[in-house]
Amino acid sequence: MAIAPQAAAPGPAAEADRKGRRDDGDAAKRTLSAFKASPATYAVLIVVSALLFVPFVLMVSISLASDQTSAENAFTIIPGEFEWSNFADVFTATGLPVGRFVLNSVLIATLSAVGQVLSSSLVGYAFARLRAPGKGVMFMIVLATMMIPAQITMIPQFLLFKELGWVNTYLPLIVPNFFSNAFNVFLVRQFVSRLPSELDEAAQVDGLGYFGVYRRIILPMMWPILTAIAIFTLTFAWGDFMGPLIYLNSEESMPLALGLQYMTSTSNAMQLPPWNLVMVGSIILTLPMIAIYYLGQKYLYEMNLQGGSAGVK
């Protein structure tokens, strides 16, 4: 197989790795020799990673295309034009309140994350530290509920929220987050169980109540897991499509993920959507996710190690 020579020659490549960028000329030579040693490995890596990366590049390229290019569908993979004005036009030229879309997304995602962090930290703390009859049964229920697919409860929840007059408001998307979810409770509980209990016992001796222990001792120690939970929730709420599709039907209340779809479907069947502006919208939808990932990478990595592994999307 193609991989064989690679395993046999770890020496020089590893050394070059360590030296890094300090001597570029030397590094280039080493790269070349590493490439020669196992061309097939590199060829495969380059082709596959390029294939995986092309849609991303295409998104950027189209977002910078002029309206005419867009109308003619004459796109190039590598950006040929640089219509930066698209990034302003998207807010004005689509006939849709795109600024509002972004604001709605920010609002829904932030409040959802706040709700999850507050509720699951308290519930998870109780499951990790407090003793009570019936606790074991309750925790079994927490674990069991993780298996229920959301579709089961979707229709009755919709009818419930309709009854409450919450349709076409953000409430159905935000409020359930203030009641925590099983997975996050589980994560917090596992995290708190690993914290040494001497601290909160000492604090209790000093007269702190259960809420005081939570608020002053445990909560400040929980922030790695809470950061991870905030990131999970932000990512989910920001990209969620089905929830807004069910509950929000006025343009003014749509988040960006739904608004983008709306942008492509408003034009009639013969007309092409303004692809360049749609791609600008897609980039606006993407950038915060990349930023959040890079800022929170460390915590997510820790969570992966602790939780065994995280899921695929």
């Binding site: 197989m1 991989i3 395993a7 770890p10 490549a13 790795d17 080493r30 790269t31 590493a34 490995t41 590199y42 890596l45 990673s49 390029a50 995986l52 990366f53 849609p55 569908n73 796109f75 699951s120 308290l122 703390y125 109780a126 499951f127 407090l130 003793r131 009570a132 009859p133 049964v137 229920i141 509920t145 697919p149 579709q151 089961i152 409860t153 979707m154 229709i155 009755p156 009818l159 419930l160 009641f179 925590s180 109540g209 259960y210 990209g239 089905m242 492509t264 479907s265 069947a269 692809w275 791609m279 897609s282 980039i283 939808l285 993407t286 990349i290 065994g308 592994s309 695929v312 999307k313």
Partner: protein, 323 residues
């Protein structure tokens, strides 16, 4: 509600078992128990109000015919028999969902393992490759779907490209043959997430194992199957389960890629269980039938999860056997 039921037997049992010492602590114990129930009350209220209640309601609704405007009509198991025996669209959606899940999930995992294995060697520019592979997975699904919708448009870039080679590309998303493969290709864009996870698992494999294998004369292929693969099976298994559960619930991509106002796609070729459920519930107001589909979906997911766990004993390797 359920807390009262669950608490009562426990509370009654405990003092009897612990005897006197327990009764002396009981005021403190009772206070602690009170705070426990107080603190978990957000979850408990959410569980009863948003999960248990709706689940019970869902069972009931699935046994009725109901448009939510007129009172529900009790029809017994009719919705289920209709789905399983009369409705060709249901079977089509079931087949489509299986087709999608059973190809896209293994395919994504194979690509993920393959890439991770390549990157696990001492490769130059490893960080760059990792970023190129992982970055697309950070793009929200809706944005990815938008790119695909554009690329696969009848006169879109892909067909232009094929045109350069004198090929006449199909109308991908308007063609009953090609829409499912298009959805599968889209799903492989998530392979980067599995790659990065698998790569970090591979990093944890002790080097001595490879050295020992090499001394024994094992080539790269043999090293992969005898050393690497057994060590990453728990991660593969986890991704398989989560991937299958997610794939059975596919919705957003289909909704976005399907031609305007036609959720099922051409000739229902991309009609999935959840899109059908969505359509029945929110387009046609067949809440009873849609609820029945939801429970059938649940059963499908359950069956596949159980099968996966059953076979896991044969191929998933836990070093410590503790987890």
């Amino acid at each position: 509600m359920s807390n009262v039921v669950d608490e009562a037997p426990g509370a009654a049992r405990e003092p009897r078992r612990a005897g006197r010492r327990r009764t002396r602590l009981s005021r403190r114990g009772r206070k602690e128990a009170f705070y426990f129930w107080l603190f978990i009350s957000p979850w408990l209220i959410g569980f009863v109000g948003f999960l248990l209640g709706p689940m019970v309601a869902s069972v009931y609704i699935s046994l009725t015919e109901w448009d939510s405007f007129t009172p529900p009509q009790w029809v017994g198991l009719d919705n289920y028999t209709r789905a399983l025996t009369e409705d060709p669209v249901f079977w089509k959606s079931l087949w489509n969902t299986f087709y999608y899940a059973l190809i896209s999930v293994p395919l994504g995992l194979i690509v993920g393992v393959w890439l991770a294995n390549l990157l696990n060697k001492r490769v130059r520019g490893r960080k760059l490759f990792r970023t190129l592979i992982y970055l697309p997975t950070l793009v929200p699904l809706v944005a990815t779907a938008m790119v695909f919708k554009m690329v696969l448009a009848p006169s879109g870039p892909l067909n232009d490209l094929l045109g350069l080679f004198g090929l006449d590309g199909p109308e991908w998303l308007l063609s009953a043959t090609w829409i499912k493969p298009a959805l599968i290709v889209l799903s492989v864009w998530g392979a980067g997430a599995a790659t990065v996870l698998l790569l970090s698992a591979m990093n944890g494999i002790p080097r001595e194992l490879y050295e020992a294998a090499e001394i024994d004369g094992a080539g790269a292929w043999r090293q992969f199957w005898s050393v690497t693969f057994p060590q990453i099976t728990p991660i593969i298994f986890f991704n398989l389960i989560m991937g299958l559960i997610g794939a059975f619930q596919i919705f957003s991509q289909v909704y976005i890629l399907a031609p305007n106002n036609n959720v099922g796609g051409p000739d229902n070729a991309s009609q999935m269980m959840v899109t059908l459920l969505f359509q029945e519930a929110f387009s046609f107001y067949h809440f009873g039938y849609a609820s029945a589909i939801a429970w059938l979906l649940f059963i499908v997911i359950l069956v596949f999860t159980v099968i996966a766990f059953r076979t896991a004993r044969k191929w998933v390797f836990y070093e410590t056997e503790v987890r």
